[in-house]
Subunit: 326 residues, 2 copies
Amino acid sequence: MSNQKNKIFAIVKDDLADIETALSQSLNPYFELVSQVASHIMLSGGKRLRPLLFLLSTRICGYKGNIAIKFSSIFEYLHTASLLHDDIVDDAVLRRGQRVANAIWGNPIAVLVGDFLLARASAISVDAGSLEIIKVLSEITEEMSQGEIHQLIKKGSLDITETEYLEVIRRKTAVLFQGACRIGALISNASEEKEAALSTCGLHLGIAFQMVDDLIDYTSDTRTLGKEIGADLKEGKLTLPVIHSLKTAESSDRFLMEKIIKNKDFAAHEFETLVEMLRKYGGIAYTKKQAAAHIEKAKQALAVFSPSESREVFLLIADYILERNA
Amino acid sequence: MSNQKNKIFAIVKDDLADIETALSQSLNPYFELVSQVASHIMLSGGKRLRPLLFLLSTRICGYKGNIAIKFSSIFEYLHTASLLHDDIVDDAVLRRGQRVANAIWGNPIAVLVGDFLLARASAISVDAGSLEIIKVLSEITEEMSQGEIHQLIKKGSLDITETEYLEVIRRKTAVLFQGACRIGALISNASEEKEAALSTCGLHLGIAFQMVDDLIDYTSDTRTLGKEIGADLKEGKLTLPVIHSLKTAESSDRFLMEKIIKNKDFAAHEFETLVEMLRKYGGIAYTKKQAAAHIEKAKQALAVFSPSESREVFLLIADYILERNA
């Protein structure tokens, strides 16, 4: 897996360097503290997947303009703002192995720097000179906030269905992937067919990304994960591995699982028991299978494009999203 | 004063009714909870000053289109989002005499509904079909978030200067008033002269509005105020009445004032002592004088417009902003 990551990295090295430069340059804050807080989270090992997918989308569509690099920051800023506000929601302590911003600087600054990043994203978006793109971006932020609200409403509910779970992750995660790819096409004045293909590809990449993310919470250790073990469960966030297993479990095991889930201070051995249940009742395997199916759909959507290095990287990233374990 | 308020109300009654309808209709949320939280704060006696100033600005510029009413929601949504996020920052308990949203539903939902309102504002802004207007709006949100951050950085500082105070209130409050008036001109395709006049008028109205708001914290009781007495001071927020008085006080009185300010659990009689100092050293009078000067500038800016009912209402609102006591 590390090989695949290295392979991707070798091809997109220059893009990633450009993205880093743009992220710093576009920040342009009035106060040093804003840079500090924003950098703290942005420089803590983010994969820059969203800006990278945007750039690859412009390239696969033959974009010839000169604002794509700067524009790519939008997708990282929206993501970062969402993380900053999400950490308040989650009351999380660790993210990517570091203390979260609100634990260091307090909720207020995390909220306000998130707001600043949303505003920056909006300011940069005007540069493209396209009302259509701005409209798509505003729909993305609207969907993302509603997805987070949906997730919050469902917090602690043992009866969340797979359909609801899918709706939550589509909004809170996948619409941003989808938007990054679709706007890559829009900014390149690509055909509607290509725009639709990239939109579909991004949507499925995003869904798979979140499914794998949710899976990692049950299959990784704290060091690899960069956050607490069983963090989702401790926050009352029921994800597909659990939802599926609760549905298929025998009643006595279901009872046991529910008991562990309801007690948010579960011990390590209880968490292990739960993970065993997720294996026994297929929640882990099912989630992996669903994620793989979405990756497959994402790849198929790219068939409208002729073979190229950009398409190749897209396919490699799709595989990476499925196989990553941190 | 109540007479003046009634006089304004009689003239803009229909506008206010239209604004209320638009605020509900444009909300368009996926979840009932979002309506509940947003309505809780929006229906708790807000004066709708910002949407009203926007509408009056379109009217004074002879606007003939049909999206102004809907568009006016933007300014109330941006304001409401800022209140929701600000209450997390302030850790406030009461606003407009009601418990603040985050005290009822918790910080997470207050953050997320604020985000939703920002996103709605952005979505509605696309309707005007003007990149220039979107650009101005994005600059407003950027300035507002920086103003809030500046205020947060300065929290508890006894050495904040009048210049810094002005910079904070310009950004956190006045740019939105300014933007509402300026965009009223832009959407009406008014001349640059009229756009500049409304921009100037809005800016000074906003500065005066915040100065009076800050004054009320020292001149009103809880019932009229709708929030705790001495709330600004308890949050470590030093405003003009205090800043000016600290500067002009004799050293022994200054020492006494600083002692009260530093102890955020001050008793009622200590607060009274402080208010006496603000009177003794002219902080109250000075702030009122400064606010009056800004109101005067706001009114003068309107001289470019021929006399009309809209201009008359603008002038009445300017007086109301200065004279209001809650």
